[in-house]
């Protein structure tokens, strides 16, 4: 992974974390680093160990083995205001008004009320809910409550912002407002780590990612490297003329290219997954040799979603009732002894 010009220790380093809840191994050598000033995607199916890792970084849990450091200091020794945390499960005091509530959280981080109120009003404005200040939290829409919760995570101006699913439940307009806020935070030199199941969001925002599964990293690094490292490319072909490129038309001649698979049949265009050892140009030549007229030919790296499915075996966010989820439940049950 690139060091981004910082000395090796100047980063958020998660180093070989192991955490067991009774018989369940929640983290099995979780290991990655986040460069300062990055927007970093922390991806994985439910139950892959994301929340456990985050809780260890925040010192809400202690690992059985391994360490987490920020700029070389164990995260457990750092002031709480170093971190901003947006938990996956949203929750605010329903009866409190928004301004008082946010000032209360800021106060816990040692910010005095006057400064807090200024910051809060500024952010409410930025997130386009300036009128929310004097209202009770339970009077706000879900999306606006989520924005308030985002402000609660950053009201104390943390160095590192850790967010669990910040975009879930937001409509496209609010999503783009939140994305703008992310860029604003990065412009201020903050480091942002977030988990999500929305791969387009990751591609739009993140400079680097890790994909984790069963408590360990399966792939990680700058997005470009992750895509390249997949060992294959995606080729999209559209032929001139309606409906010519249907699946049965292609099956025959694809046999000449070992390892090439049809991943998206369609009337408008088809998508093929091509191993690195096959030259996409050879495919183009073969199509032309068959006398077809090519309207579109595109070579691309696989999408993150494809890489995710390939590495984890399931679609992101598609895993509620699969094995990892039950692991979480039993992990919680086993956490007490």
């Amino acid at each position: 992974m690139p060091r981004g010009g910082y000395p090796p220790a100047m980063a958020l380093v998660v180093d070989r974390l192991v955490k067991r809840f009774g018989p369940v191994v929640a983290l099995d050598g979780m290991d990655f680093r986040v460069e300062p000033g990055q927007i970093f995607g922390f991806l994985g199916a439910n139950g892959a160990g994301k929340t456990t890792t985050i809780r260890i970084v925040l010192d809400l849990l202690r690992p059985d083995e391994g360490t987490t450091t920020w700029h070389g200091t164990p995260t457990a020794d750092l002031a709480r205001r170093t971190w901003g945390y947006l938990p996956e499960e949203r929750g605010l005091y329903p009866r409190m008004n928004v301004l008082d509530q946010l000032a209360f959280f800021a106060g816990l981080y040692g910010i005095d009320r006057r400064d807090a109120v200024r910051t809060i009003r500024d952010w409410l404005e930025r997130l386009r809910i300036p009128d929310a200040a004097g209202r009770r939290t339970d009077e706000l829409s879900k999306g606006n409550q989520q924005k308030v919760q985002f402000i609660a995570a950053i009201v104390h101006d943390p160095e590192v912002l850790i967010m669990d699913e910040p975009f879930s439940g937001l409509d496209p307009v609010n999503s783009s407002i939140l994305r703008a806020a992310f860029f604003e935070m990065r412009a201020r030199g903050k480091t942002l780590v977030f988990s999500t199941h929305q791969m387009e969001t990751v591609e739009a925002l993140c400079e680097a990612i890790v994909i984790v599964d069963r408590g360990r990293v399966v792939v990680g690094g700058p997005i470009r490297d992750v895509r390249r490292a997949s060992g294959r490319q995606v080729v999209r072909i559209a032929l001139d003329g309606d409906g010519r490129a249907e699946r049965h038309d292609l099956v025959g001649w694809l046999d000449g290219f070992p390892g090439v698979r049809l991943t998206r049949p369609g009337a408008d265009y088809v998508e093929l997954t091509v191993p690195r050892e096959v030259d996409p140009q050879a495919i183009l030549r073969a199509v032309l040799d068959r006398g077809e007229r090519v309207a579109r030919f595109e070579i691309a790296d696989p999408s993150l979603e494809e890489i995710f499915i390939e590495r984890v075996g399931i679609r992101p966010g598609d895993d509620e009732d699969l094995a990892p989820a039950t692991t979480t439940a039993s992990a919680a049950r086993a956490a007490t002894p």
Partner: protein, 449 residues
């Protein structure tokens, strides 16, 4: 980007954060409609209870206290004495309509002292005045009573018998020359005496103290249980609304716990004061209220809250506060282990059982505060708030015993704070678990590991 400051994990500090949390909790709680309504209703009920004795006296106002008079050696004396006693004790109070006024006492001649004593024991007579001639010619009065030796009746009788002795002396004086007046003696003999470890309490004070002791123990029990449950449900609410996740990343479990206990405790004390103060004022001014309602009492009423002294009040407040802290911390830990508010009751059950057992032991032991069991219980943290209080009120307790009990209680609260913080830290991030007594102990065991 600046290097992260290396500072203590507690951030702005335990006191500041605990105070912020306590203030939020307090304001949030006392502002609710249920709080205001419950406080108002309870205050009215308490005032009603405080007025109950006046109500009883009102219903009882027609009752006449019968007092027997016997002079075994000089039966002739009884007539004179009865006349004087009747004049003195049944005097119509000023400003009262004499026709409507009913006499509070009826004096009657009793055949012999034995019969009189039997009547007193059987509560047929409220008291018995026995008259004897001393060898020096003066009169000796003995007042046998099942009531208080220092009560209003005894005091009134002492004055009246003096008057009777003067009259008797005057009537007896020979025409030739005066006989020197010999001061009469007046002695009160209480038929029911209570004694505790060598300290003799008069029956009135003893009765008053055990009633008061019971009342204070009940108050402590109710407060611990009710406000303890407030703490538990409040923690569970933060957990079920998930606001806990924000709190726990902003503040330490210890700050959250202390803040919660202080905030809820403050709200509890506020409610407590709102209920108790008006009722206590009613009790203090019971006499005036009674004379307004019932007309002036012939000899003044009995002193209200007899036996409630400043040290006892101080001990009550001290043990109440320390006991509350101890139990509330554990209630908070219990609340942190459930995911749904409905499950709080179940998990708090062991705590409620402990406080109930201590309460029952303390109330049941009121008659035997000096027993070994009670002495031991008065040092055990969970029962000492209840038991030490009744020992202080009804027995003889050395100052070092109180100091030791308080020290043990305070030290246990500190130890429990450490334990509860760990249970809490474990509990608040656990969701979806079936709560139960077993989980509570498992978490506690995990916490001390």
């Amino acid at each position: 980007m600046s290097a992260p400051e290396r500072s203590s994990r507690t951030g702005p500090g335990l006191r500041r954060n605990a105070w912020l949390i306590a203030r939020r909790e307090y304001v949030d709680r006392v502002r609710t409609r249920t709080f205001v309504a419950a406080t108002a209703v309870l205050a009215v009920v308490a005032i009603g209870l405080a007025l109950a004795p006046i109500g009883l006296r009102y219903l009882d106002r027609g009752t006449i206290a019968r007092i027997g008079v016997v002079a075994e050696t000089e039966p002739a004396l009884t007539g004179t004495v009865i006349q004087i006693l009747d004049e003195q004790l049944n005097r119509v109070p000023q400003g009262t309509d004499a026709a409507a006024w009913e006499r509070p006492y009826r004096f009657e001649t009793v055949a012999d002292p034995a019969a009189g004593r039997a009547a007193v024991d059987a509560d047929v007579l409220a008291g018995l005045v026995m008259i004897q001639r001393r060898s020096d010619g003066g009169l000796a009065f003995q007042f046998l009573t099942s009531g208080s030796p220092a009560g209003q009746t005894a005091v009134g009788l002492q004055f009246a018998t003096f008057g009777a002795a003067v009259l008797e002396w005057y009537a007896r004086a020979p025409k030739g020359g005066p006989v020197p007046f010999e001061m009469p003696t007046f002695e009160v003999v209480a038929t029911r005496t209570a004694s505790n470890e060598g300290t003799t309490l008069d029956p009135q004070t003893a009765a008053s103290r055990s009633v008061l002791s019971t009342v204070l123990i009940v108050l402590i029990f109710v407060t611990l249980t009710v406000y303890g449950m407030w703490v538990a449900t409040s923690v569970a609410a933060e957990k079920s609304t998930r606001v806990m996740e924000l709190l726990i990343s902003a503040a330490t479990p210890r700050e959250l716990l202390v803040g919660k206990v202080v905030g809820v405790g403050g709200a509890g004390l506020t409610q407590y004061a709102a209920i108790i103060v008006p009722a206590a004022l009613v009790v203090l001014f019971q006499d005036r209220i009674a004379s307004a309602v019932l007309g002036p009492a012939p000899l003044g009423g009995e002193a209200p809250l007899e036996g409630l002294t400043l040290p006892i009040l101080g001990a009550f407040l001290l043990f109440f506060l320390l006991g509350f802290v101890l139990y509330a911390l554990l209630y908070a830990a219990a609340g942190s282990l459930v995911s749904r508010q409905e499950d709080v009751q179940q998990l708090a059950l062991p705590l409620s059982l402990v406080s109930m057992a201590s309460y029952i032991a303390a109330v049941a032991g009121i008659g035997a505060v000096g027993s070994t069991v009670m002495v031991i219980l008065s040092f055990i943290p969970f029962s000492s708030p209840f038991v030490m209080l009744s020992r202080i009120m009804l027995g003889r307790v050395e100052p070092w015993e109180v100091a030791l009990s308080v020290t043990i209680l305070a030290a246990s609260s500190l130890a429990i704070l450490g334990l509860a913080s760990r249970i809490y830290a474990t509990g608040v991030v656990l969701y979806g678990q079936r709560p139960g007594v077993r989980e509570f102990f498992r978490a506690a065991r995990a916490a001390v590991r």
